[in-house]
């Protein structure tokens, strides 16, 4: 996936909202989400460890951050494809952004896609846990870069 540095979080999110708007049927939206999941490069097995595991998900999820040149890059994976699709959405919008932008991102796009309404409460919790962990990583890098 190309990492476009000059894209803002908002621009990338808008792009995703437009892509999902092409599908009327929810099964088609899920099909697209699954495709996004399938096309996300797998996380190397050595990083699928407890340290990078997100808790609160029904399926297993790992997200690994990397801080380079003032930006945070994320890689992630899941054993379930729909969950992996959600990871892919978050990575597409947030990876390669400056930590401050990630910390302050509003992420309304998940609502605009309608995903939240169509996710079961347990899965919603899982998504919330992913977002929280991503923000926590960004916050840590922000802190570190200020010191």
């Amino acid at each position: 996936m190309a990492e476009l540095h000059n894209d803002t979080i908002e621009a990338r999110a808008r792009q995703l909202v437009e892509e999902f708007a092409l599908f009327d049927d929810w099964m088609d939206k899920y099909e697209y989400l699954i495709e996004l999941g399938k096309s996300l490069p797998p996380l190397e097995p050595e990083y699928k460890t407890e340290a990078f595991r997100i808790h609160g998900c029904q399926s297993q999820v790992w997200i690994r951050p990397e801080f380079r040149d003032g930006r945070v890059y994320f890689k992630g994976d899941s054993d379930a494809l729909i969950t992996k699709g959600l990871v892919a959405l978050l990575i597409r919008v947030l990876s390669g952004q400056p930590p401050e932008a990630i910390v302050n991102a509003r992420l309304d796009f998940l609502d605009e896609i309608g995903l939240k309404a169509h996710l079961s409460p347990t899965r919603k919790n899982g998504l919330a846990a992913m977002i929280e962990q991503i923000r926590r990583y960004a916050q840590a890098y922000l802190q570190a870069s200020r010191n």
């Binding site: 929810w26 099964m27 899920y30 099909e31 699954i34 029904q58 379930a80 494809l81 079961s120 899965r123």
Partner: protein, 418 residues
């Protein structure tokens, strides 16, 4: 199909279309107008109109606290509550209604026994025997008790099909065993355990048996006196009754000897600050204002099931399970988990290359409600080496058409995820 009667005089068939009409929740369209296919009945069943009406009528006309007021409404409410207890006692063949205690559900019933009988009889080095297919509600209360008392659990294994190893069970009964706690039917596999035989084995050594009937009572005819079990527990909401109400049946002499569970309300006979004497059974175990509406609703559910004919229900569900078992094999890569020769309407399965959560999510989008995950039986999943399964659990109102819809949807799920 009209109801018919076989040579033994039992009603053996029933009209599923007419039964479905009794359940308003089944006729909804969800998401983009898809008809609801509800196959999560092991978690909770839908409620027939008669149960809903009974609860509404109670609140509209009879609502009062019971066993205290001398006034008209209190009499009505008390009578209805007592009548519900009688209905339940008859339903399970309890010798006396006073042996039927209203609790919040199976989980509370088990906790009650652990906290009273358990604390009284289990000591350091003692053992409680469970099966590997128990759900968390029949594990954790015993675990807590064991921690408190320095006792331990002995777990009887199950084989690949989900059949309990009876020889191992027999071997695990020792002079240290204080109780056997066993599911009548496994929620994750549908296995029907030979509880009668297990009870006989345990009683031969003077060991009491608690049967967790949460997944059995809605499918099988249960007679606690014939079974000779010492305790039997179940929940109202899994048998077409309301949530928040359940039953603990116990043998009279055990219940009499057990200390109270919670203090306050109806469980008291006389209180002074020096000493309190406790009410007789069943009130000794019903502290505070009970779930009056729930109990009355459960009574209505029992009456409803009686009206359908229990043999007819069991026969219909067996047929449906057989049909579903056959049809599911058509799905490529599908493997049934739990293939015990004697089982009831639970179809637990995994599909090669398909994560249960993905399948559950997509089925939901197609209007089909199933359960995915470990079904609160994590030790069993660990034993079978699975992260979880997809579970379709059937009730008396499910149809062949709904099974067809499930199979068709699973084909689509497989296409999407592979």
């Amino acid at each position: 199909m009209p109801a018919s009667v076989d040579s033994t005089g039992l009603q053996t068939t029933f009209d599923v279309a007419r039964v479905r009409a009794d359940f308003p929740a089944l006729h909804q369209r969800i998401y983009d107008g898809r008809p609801l296919v509800y196959l999560d009945n092991a978690a909770t069943t839908q409620k027939p109109q008669v149960v809903i009406d009974r609860i509404r009528d109670f609140y509209m006309r009879e609502n009062a606290n019971i066993h205290r007021g001398v006034h008209y409404l209190s009499q009505l409410a008390s009578d209805a509550y007592d009548e519900a207890r009688r209905l339940v006692a008859d339903f399970i063949g309890a010798p006396d209604p006073s042996q039927v205690i209203f609790t919040r559900g199976t989980t509370e019933s088990i906790n009650l026994v652990a906290a009273t009988y358990g604390r009284q009889h289990v000591g350091k080095g003692d053992e409680i025997v469970l099966s590997a297919m128990e759900h968390h509600s029949n594990i954790v209360p015993w675990q807590l008790l064991c921690e408190e008392k320095g006792a331990r659990l002995r777990v009887v294994p199950v084989d690949e099909r989900g059949v309990l190893d009876l020889e191992a069970l027999e071997r695990s009964l020792t002079e240290r065993t204080r109780l056997v706690a066993i599911a009548h039917v496994s929620n994750a596999l549908g296995t029907v355990n030979p509880v009668r035989e297990i009870i006989r084995m345990a009683h031969a050594r003077g060991i009491p048996v608690l049967v967790d009937g949460a997944q059995a009572i809605q499918h099988l005819e249960v007679n606690v006196a014939e079974l000779d079990c010492d305790f039997y527990c179940f929940s109202g909401h899994k048998m077409y009754g309301p949530t928040g109400i359940g039953i603990l049946y116990g043998k009279a002499e055990l219940l009499e000897a057990m200390p109270p569970y919670q203090g306050g309300g109806d469980m008291i006979e006389r209180v002074t600050f020096e000493r309190t004497t406790f009410n007789r059974l069943p009130y000794k175990f019903e502290a505070g204002t009970p779930h009056i509406a729930g109990a009355i609703g459960l009574g209505a559910a029992v009456a409803y099931l009686n009206g359908l004919g229990r043999a007819a229900v069991a026969h219909y569900e067996d047929e449906l399970l057989r049909y579903a078992t056959e049809r599911l094999q058509e799905v490529p890569g599908l493997r049934l988990i739990g293939t015990a020769p004697h089982k009831v309407s639970v179809l637990s399965f995994v599909i090669d290359g398909v994560h249960p959560y993905d399948a559950g999510t997509l089925l939901d989008q197609m209007g089909i409600a199933v359960r995915t995950g470990h079904h609160c039986a994590q030790p069993l999943m660990d034993r079978l080496g699975l992260p979880g399964t997809i579970r379709a659990s059937l009730a008396l109102y499910n149809t062949r058409e709904e099974i067809d819809a499930l199979v068709e949807a699973l084909h689509r799920v497989v296409r999407m995820l592979r």
